[in-house]
């Protein structure tokens, strides 16, 4: 382990874990003075091609209150003093060590054989209030998806518009559907009654022994194995018509999204609780009636904006949010997840519906139209398979976190809900979703990442012996896409260090990238419930305190301020974070903000960093492609820039390049190199596009192009119309903004950090 960097990377690759601090301050008091909390980013299902699942079940610590999984590392056994080997391990010998005891298996995956395996379930909830071509494209996508599903997966179809139709898939001849009014909220019980899912009392009593088999039977009418009703469903989808109810001039179509979702949830709740299931909502506009309506059907009243929300002028928002939260919580309780695919030019109510995806680990995809490759490919990518030929999705996971006694769990931020499991290792101070040591993650994929926050509870006066290590174990039970139940166990141990004597150690073990993302998650989490400026102030104060704590400076002398390498990038991350759409709502609709925040809360560290601080590559004749500063000074006339903000891929041609292209040089044989230059960023962009989920918006623009705003809004405005000191030089493009530049930001930061006033 040469450097911390390598160590961190290795840990991430092996366990999917990045800690903000890799050496832990040994007392509660000191830990709080570190400003950045002890926390980690955990990617529970990090792909580990090298990790074969073991075919037996884990051994549990026999102490009822502990239940930690038996894992490697003799040291660990010390950490869990009560640990006792169960009898199964009687045959342990030097040559026949169970995997748990081998050091490289700090993460291990068990397959559980017990229990009935139920097939995956995909329930399509389709909006029919779409334009004809949009609907057509959506229908095709859905039909296509049937071929991608596992053959034994169950599928169901609910369509909605003014009414909600639950299609019965099993019947011959007449096609049947159950129709619900789009304006009426129904309880799960009512829905099940109306769908005839509650079994009549009589047969049930008579056929008690047969019951288990009957269970799936009740729902077969609505959920059928793909291989059986493939054709039927394809036809059914093909015959889907636009919502037939007339929409008069000046009105929005009546769209019963709230009820449709409610029915979908109720249907699965009644038939397949605790079985992996995806509810996939495809919607082309805002819910306009019934519970969960976001906007009325009068076109003259626009859908709520941030401005309205601030003015408390969004009359449907609270009620709708409540409706969707209730649904999300029920869904989560059943272990199902909800995906939202919203494609419309205007907002579709993601703000209100976000919790459905956020709390259940579902996807949220936002596009302009179903007839775009953005949607089509994103949708298709959901069904991609991994190296084992398995779908990259898992269901109904519970994450159980155990800590050694010096630590307590403060909370988690990510696509999860609390299971409200109190225990000795649960802190009273909550960060994110706290008060529990277990969370439910209903839908997750190999990149789903949670931020988990801890609290050091060891008292200052009870020092930890030299060389002591803290341990954390993450136990994730989940349903693999192959329908097996699996358990992945990751055990982490880190050294304790005394701040007084070993501050340098701790500093050096600071993971500023992880810290930035973890702090950003905290900030975004707060932003959901607090006013934007408050969050920014909080972030600033944390940053200043961090600088005060770890900077080297002379009091009142800003110029003397220095940060060590392990902290040097952190302020810059914070600068960009402050400008990011996660915290800034200006220029974003509430839906967009929700969309960005949704993804920020579930992506892994790398992607999160890209979101915070987009990556900018430069292509020019001056050398090979290189990353350049995200700064207006990087925008030069003879460069092609490729920016990746995670959500957008922007290719920007400098002024000169654009002129050349316009002149058609790329078509002339003698300028083939120019052609290659033009092509290079396209190829790179393609590569990113292929790998990214959801598919980013792909923007190809040039100097002066309207879409160049995507680039200009992201770069550090080092040159603006206010400070054209470099006018006339080839130093980049001025940005017309009043935003502060990084330089100004840093100046202020230094000044404040060295000030003794605060």
């Amino acid at each position: 382990m040469a450097t911390y960097l390598e160590f961190i990377q290795q840990n991430e690759e092996r366990d999917g874990v990045r800690f903000s601090w890799n050496v832990w301050p040994s007392s509660r008091l000191e830990a709080t003075r570190m400003v950045v909390p002890l926390a980690c980013l955990l990617t529970p299902l990090k792909e580990r091609p090298d990790l074969p699942p073991v075919q037996y079940e884990p051994v549990l610590c026999s102490r009822p209150t502990c239940k930690a999984c038996n894992i490697d590392m003799p040291a660990l056994i010390k950490l869990f003093p009560s640990f006792q080997f169960p009898p199964a391990y009687g045959g342990i010998s030097e040559v026949n060590q169970p995997a748990e005891l081998m050091p490289q298996f700090s993460t291990i995956e068990y397959m559980i054989q017990r229990g009935a395996q139920s097939p995956l379930i995909f329930l399509y909830v389709v909006d029919t209030c779409l334009e004809e071509d949009d609907l057509q494209a959506l229908k095709e996508s859905l039909q296509m998806s049937l071929s991608l599903l596992p053959p034994d997966a169950l599928v169901g179809l609910i369509t909605f518009g003014r009414m909600v139709q639950v299609h019965e898939l099993s019947c011959e001849g007449i096609s049947k559907s159950y129709v619900f009014r789009g304006t009426k909220d129904l309880t799960a019980k009512q829905i099940q009654d109306m769908l005839g899912l509650t079994k009549p009392a009589m047969p049930m009593q008579q056929a008690r022994p047969v019951q288990p088999q009957e269970h799936p039977f009740a729902s077969t009418r609505f959920l059928q194995p793909v291989h059986k009703i493939d054709m039927n469903l394809t036809d059914l989808l093909g015959e889907l018509q636009r919502d037939p109810w007339p929409v008069t001039q000046g009105k929005r179509p009546l769209r019963s999204t709230g009820v449709a979702l409610s029915i979908a949830v109720g249907l699965l709740e009644g038939t397949f609780p605790n079985t992996g299931a995806r509810i996939m909502l495809f919607t082309g506009g805002p819910p306009t009636q019934g519970p969960g309506m976001v906007v009325g059907d009068e076109l003259k009243i626009p859908i709520r904006s941030w401005h309205d929300i601030e003015k408390d002028n969004a009359r449907f928002m609270k009620k709708a949010t409540k409706h969707y939260e209730m649904l999300a919580n029920r869904t989560a309780a059943n272990g199902h997840c909800i995906d939202i695919y919203a494609c419309a030019l205007d907002q579709t109510g993601l703000l209100e519906m976000k919790c459905c995806a956020n709390l259940t680990g579902g996807y949220m995809v936002m596009g302009d139209s179903f007839n775009t490759s953005l949607f089509k490919q994103t949708f298709q990518r959901i069904f991609t398979k991994d190296f084992n030929g398995d779908f990259r999705m898992a269901f109904g996971a519970t994450l159980d976190v155990k800590t050694s006694r010096e630590l307590k769990i403060a909370g988690a931020i990510g696509p999860c809900v609390s299971l409200n499991v109190k225990g000795p290792c649960v802190s009273e101070n909550e960060l994110g979703v706290g008060g529990t040591s277990q969370w439910k993650i209903c839908g997750l994929d190999p990149t789903s990442t949670l931020g988990i926050y801890f609290e050091v509870v060891n008292q200052h006066n009870a020092p930890i012996p030299q060389g002591g290590r803290g341990a954390i174990q993450f136990v994730t039970h989940y349903q693999h896409s192959s329908t097996q139940r699996r358990i992945r166990v990751t055990t982490i141990a880190r050294n304790w260090a005394d701040v007084q004597s070993q501050l340098r150690h701790i500093e050096a073990a600071f993971d500023q990238e992880a810290a930035a993302v973890l702090m950003a998650r905290l900030g975004v989490f707060r932003a959901e419930s607090e006013e934007g400026p408050d969050v920014l102030r909080w972030l600033d104060r944390q940053l200043i305190r961090l600088c005060q704590k770890f900077g080297q400076y002379n009091k009142e002398d800003p110029t003397s301020f220095r940060l060590s390498d392990s902290f040097s990038l952190y302020p810059q991350f914070m600068f960009h974070l402050r400008r990011s759409p996660f915290l800034q709502v200006f220029n974003n609709s509430p839906d967009e903000s929700s969309y960005y925040r949704h993804h920020f809360a579930r992506q892994d560290l790398t992607q999160s960093l890209i979101m915070i601080q987009p990556i900018l590559y430069s292509y020019s004749f001056h050398g090979p492609p290189e990353p350049v500063l995200l700064d207006s000074s990087s925008i030069l006339a003879d460069r092609i820039l490729l920016m990746d903000t995670f959500f957008q891929i922007v290719i920007y041609l400098g002024e000169t390049i654009a002129q050349w292209r316009k002149a058609g040089y790329q078509d002339m044989p003698e300028y083939e190199n120019f052609k290659h230059l033009l092509q290079a960023p396209l190829d790179d962009a393609q590569e990113i596009l292929q790998a990214r989920f959801p598919m980013p918006r792909y923007i190809n623009t040039e100097h002066g192009g309207s879409q160049a705003r995507f680039l200009l809004s992201k770069v550090n405005p080092s040159q603006t119309h206010n400070n054209l000191y470099a006018w006339g030089q080839e130093t980049g493009a001025p940005i017309l903004t009043d935003d502060v530049s990084l330089q100004v930001f840093m100046d202020h930061l230094k000044k404040l950090a060295v000030s003794s006033a605060c």
């Binding site: 007449i174 049947k176 619900f180």
Partner: protein, 1094 residues
Amino acid sequence: MNVNQSVPPVPSFGQPQPVYPGYHQSSYGGQSGSTAPTIPYGAYNGPVPGYQQTPPQGMSRAPPSSGAPPASTAQAPCGQAAYGQFGQGDIQNGPSSTVQMQRLPGSQPFGSPLAPVGNQPAVLQPYGPPPTSAQVTAQLSGMQISGAVAPAPPSSGLGYGPPTSLASASGSFPNSGLYGSYPQGQASPLSQAQGHPGIQTPQRSAPSQASGFTPPASGGPRLPSMTGPLLPGQSFGGPSVSQPNHVSSPPPQALPPGTQMTGPLGPLPPMHSPQQPGYQPQQNGSFGPARGPQPNYGSPYPAAPTFGSQSGPQPLPPKRLDPDAIPSPIQVIEDDRNNRGTEPFVTGVRGQVPPLVTTNFLVKDQGNASPRYIRCTSYNIPCTSDMAKQAQVPLAAVIKPLASLPPEEASPYVVDHGESGPLRCNRCKAYMCPFMQFIEGGRRFQCCFCSCINDVPPQYFQHLDHTGKRVDAYDRPELSLGSYEFLATVDYCKNNKFPSPPAFIFMIDVSYNAIRTGLVRLLCEELKSLLDFLPREGGAEESAIRVGFVTYNKVLHFYNVKSSLAQPQMMVVSDVADMFVPLLDGFLVNVNESRAVITSLLDQIPEMFADTRETETVFVPVIQAGMEALKAAECAGKLFLFHTSLPIAEAPGKLKNRDDRKLINTDKEKTLFQPQTGAYQTLAKECVAQGCCVDLFLFPNQYVDVATLSVVPQLTGGSVYKYACFQVENDQERFLSDLRRDVQKVVGFDAVMRVRTSTGIRAVDFFGAFYMSNTTDVELAGLDGDKTVTVEFKHDDRLNEESGALLQCALLYTSCAGQRRLRIHNLALNCCTQLADLYRNCETDTLINYMAKFAYRGVLNSPVKAVRDTLITQCAQILACYRKNCASPSSAGQLILPECMKLLPVYLNCVLKSDVLQPGAEITTDDRAYVRQLVTSMDVAETNVFFYPRLLPLTKSPIESTTEPPAVRASEERLSNGDMYLLENGLNLFLWVGASVQQGVVQSLFSVSSFSQITSGLSVLPVLDNPLSKKVRGLIDSLRAQRSRYMKLIVVKQEDKLEMLFKHFLVEDKSLSGGASYVDFLCHMHKEIRQLLS
């Protein structure tokens, strides 16, 4: 009643007669008769024979009566004669007079028993004239009522108990059997007069008192024979002839004899006799028909004296009233048929009383609406409310705005007044009609209703001729006809949009019961072809009506049958608590365009639910769904709901079984007629607002709570059909026939009806199948040609004799092609300052229609007993008022009935003992509710036959005769065990087979060798190729064709247990449920009247 009293009769007889005379006198003038009486008798006797002759006489009237006539004439003179005639007029008078004449004689006969007989016939004649006076005065003296009663008891007893028939028969009432005999009654008099005398006397003598009765008594003797014969309708035959007063006389005579014969029997009970006399008179007055009675009456009348005499006689007979001597509906009907069925009824003259509903006649519209559209209880309205109050005669009109007309009569012309819409009075908004007065050279017109002066729009201007009439009056239907239609402009449309064509939605119960009985399969099969016969307008090639389908049990299944689909699509709505329509496009479709899909659907429905085990159903949500569908499609329409069971599934309008027979005769009985929950009314209101009419076909196996389920059909102008214990084999024909008719009949949708009247009277109350949200507008989601609205008027000011009273009924509706129209009916009535004019121009059938509806509505809110009492009291008041103010003075013991109302007691008794007001043990709560709502929208013809069923003998008339055999009175005594009878009341049809019917007859009709092999309860006659079979089946078909609902045939064998059911319809007899026999009731009525008078 009245009849009564014959007790005194005997003594009275002599006197009574006089009394009669008095009455008669007035009417009959007959008093002369009094003297005559004796003579009459002779005459009578003569008459009897003569009667038959009489018919001819009728013609000549005078002639027949001639002998008597004189007297009668004398009598005739009396206004009465005129009265009776009124409408009919002169003719009648003429005859009547004759009749009277006869009566006189009769009266005499009365004196002598025979006399009555004579009377009757005479009466007939008298009818015409006397009618008015009619009266029947039975002498109360006899009256048995009171004292009489006491005495009567016996008599009554006789009547009833003993009599039962014959013996008692003579007992008269008893002979309700005789009833049929009304005529008899009358006849009896006659007969009495005739042969009776002898007999009567005896009896009477016995009765002593009932001299009047005696006549009956005499009848009594005859009884035996009578009974037999009578029934046969001999009397009828006769009577029929006699028919209307006018003609009647003659016929009566003929018949009377026969009748009388019976009558004689009747006479037995003095009571009767008295009554009879009384009745007779009435009959005479009113109907000539009942010839028997009339005759009697006549006799009495003529003989007013006679009556008197009768009364006298009555006294004698006090014991019994001769059924043949009391007014006979059969006779009255026959007389009217003969008198008025031949010439068209021309509506030009104000205040004419139209022929009876039982008479076939043509109508020529010359400015007043045809009686097919409007019938009034009286065509002469008292000028003041005081008079009206005094008379207690309800002023009501029974309006059937969309009545279908015989092919010979043209349907109303459609008038288009262009964009400005129909021309109306600016103030009262009445529509232009023939009564509007054009003034100032045609530049203005004065509204005939409110007297407002309006400008004539330039485009409508026309010059007036020298009489003040517009020159173009005869070119414009609205200026020359009583009924016509206007094309409505957009202002008359909902939301100011012309309506779309209406839609029919078929909503089929597919629960276990419906599937099991085969109903669903049968219905689906039938619909496939039936859909080709949706109503269409005029010469349209295809119907504009769209159709939709829904099936349901405890959830609803809607079907998308859009023509572009290969297969129908089913959409299930299980949210029954909050019903809605899941689809718009494809639900309501054009039959021809979507035929393939619809056929496929109808093929699949029975299969889809073949294995259903769902037994629960919903109801309210189903209608709601249909209504919402129409709302979504923005059109009016009709729902055809096929439902099997009490809706107990959890949903709005869920019902519980609350059938509790213990409530009968308690104050809570009314709850059986009230809906269980308010949900149904609320729903109905919504339906009406949408123009959604609901027709309900019920197929219950047990209690379904018709009272509640029928609320919506009732308030939306729909119909309810009920097929208890439906089985495809047995009920298929009836159901399909009803369904076909119901689907094919022409309907108006989304209608509003308003009745405007000239100043002085005002429409205050409405009865029928409709909804009213205010006090003036009758809202009908749907209205077909069978539905009737009865409107009651009250005075709010004085009327003027000169200008009369005008009614204008305007119906705004959407035709089945979606055209918005206004149908206007105008009717002008006379006004009177003399009560006698009122009584002379009444229509008893219409009166009964009104009273039945009034009572049937009353049971919703009051105990049934109270309702019955109200009816009796009102009836007594009406008659007492007549007696007091219009009849000539006579002994208090005489029952005197106005000629036009002489059937009021018998009909009223039928209403009182109907299932709703006096349920028998076998009548279910559902049946009562069903009947109650049926009657609410019946027209006059339907109520007439419903309350007094037609009983037709089958083998008496020559087999070659193609006309319907003459009916006999609905009494067991009229049944001959050697004959077969058809009985129909518009809902039921029985074929009664006497135990000693000839074997050959049995063979040729049932194809079995003996009576015992006939299957009791058989519902289909074998198709056999012999004249009798053909004739009977033809007759059955023709009876069915006359009724709006298919009557299922039930073959009843004499002495079989099914006979109980059959006997229930013999309404002149005492009923098992406690309903009084005609004779008893008449006595009772007489008593009431006497009490009122004293």
